[in-house]
Symmetry: C2
Subunit: 247 residues, 2 copies
């Protein structure tokens, strides 16, 4: 909880108000409450940081922190000079965690395992090189891995690695999954992730032990380190997988 020292009293006190919000978290809650109470309507301008700071008897920076968080979660829209508005079309933002597969499995209390199905340097299909922004004929390291939970197929991973940007001694990918080695050895800075659904192909069904056509949850990820592409990977999850938002 925030400190309550040095609290300047409002001179123009509203009669019998509830206690002032303390700290940026309570201010954020208070603003949300006013929006929810339809005291501040969608699209409406809310008071300036300075006005709110005066009302709450705190520094402007504290109000700023609260409003910034709300703007980052899509509740408010802020522009200099124009002020702060309640979002009219709240494209709410949600955060998802993308853990290493081993931890994802172990987090469910299951035993993790994996099989490297294929490994080889080869020319990638054009969609892959295009996605990575590489010349069409660039040879890439292709790894296909089946991840297991309690010995049962959990996730089929089809990965292309750019050998040009990998640190020198490549590991034995039958001993450590590419997934896990990468996060420890190529901390990435940017990436793009897309989620979708697809019917299992004949190959995917065979690998995952499913009937052809089973609906699979798909994650496509492209990873970059500064400006060099590192890896493009497609993850196909066995049925039952659900990706949850945080909090």
């Amino acid at each position: 909880m925030p400190a309550a020292r040095h609290v300047p009293q409002r001179l123009a006190a509203a009669p019998a108000t509830r206690p002032l919000p303390q700290g940026w978290e309570e201010i954020r809650a208070e603003v949300l409450a006013r929006i929810h109470a339809r005291h501040w309507l969608p699209g409406a301008l809310i008071p300036t940081e300075e006005a709110l700071a005066q009302e709450f008897g705190c520094a402007r920076a504290t109000v700023s922190r609260a409003l910034r968080e709300l703007a980052e979660s899509g509740v408010l829209e802020r522009r200099r000079k124009a002020g702060t508005r309640v979002a009219l079309h709240p494209a709410r933002r949600a955060t998802v965690a993308i853990p290493v597969t081993r931890l994802e499995v172990e987090g469910r209390g299951q035993t993790y395992g994996f099989h490297l199905l294929e490994q080889g340097l080869m020319v990638a299909p054009v969609p892959v090189t295009a996605q990575l922004g590489l010349a069409p004929a660039t040879p890439l390291l292709h790894l296909r891995t089946l991840h297991l939970a309690d010995g049962r197929p959990f996730l089929y991973e089809d990965r292309w690695l750019n050998p040009a940007v990998l640190p020198a001694p490549l590991p034995d990918f039958t001993a450590i999954s590419a997934n896990e080695w990468l996060v420890g050895h190529v901390p990435y800075t940017t990436g793009d992730i897309a989620f979708s659904a697809a019917n299992a192909t004949v190959d995917e069904a065979a690998i995952l032990g499913l009937r052809t056509g089973t609906a699979l949850f798909i994650t496509d990820r492209t990873t970059w380190t500064w400006d060099a592409p590192v890896t493009a990977v497609r993850l196909a999850y066995a049925p039952g997988y659900r990706l949850h938002t945080l909090v």
Copy 2:
């Protein structure tokens, strides 16, 4: 860009270093660069805020902002007294935007439309009431809506609304979609979202104009206002839909 005034010069200047990072964004980039250069290894302690502030010649609050952002995105792990470490198992966090369906369609340059397929007050299935934390026999408002893009099926929405918490004059849901009315009239404070894949049922296939068994991208959302449940909704997207992360 941040201000560069009042920059205290480092007394113990390292010889011929590159210019100091200016502002919290550049500091964040510098920290990321050191991690990426494997100067700071996964699991390792990095200097304290105070030490970095001294090194960069800025206030501690500026370093704090940069490190906080990195912690929020999963790159660093911070604990009081224990200090700040490079995340050993970086469960990277990604943010997705959840817009109103109409805007999602219009954002693709397509024309939006919808049909209300069913509307009625009825006892919800047990999984739904359980998900909302309501008594099993609670009557809920059930809405089934088909959203269209350029006249073609885009999204099938199966929604349960808690009438007890809705503002008094309910709209004509054939004129405004529940999706859109809710965001304008019941700003929510919390919610849980899960993404998954499922084969289209016979009904879903008929509604969306697909073959039974087609893989659908599913979003399940539960929404609360403070502590009262508002709505539980299942969205089934027509094939081709991809959910992208921001940035």
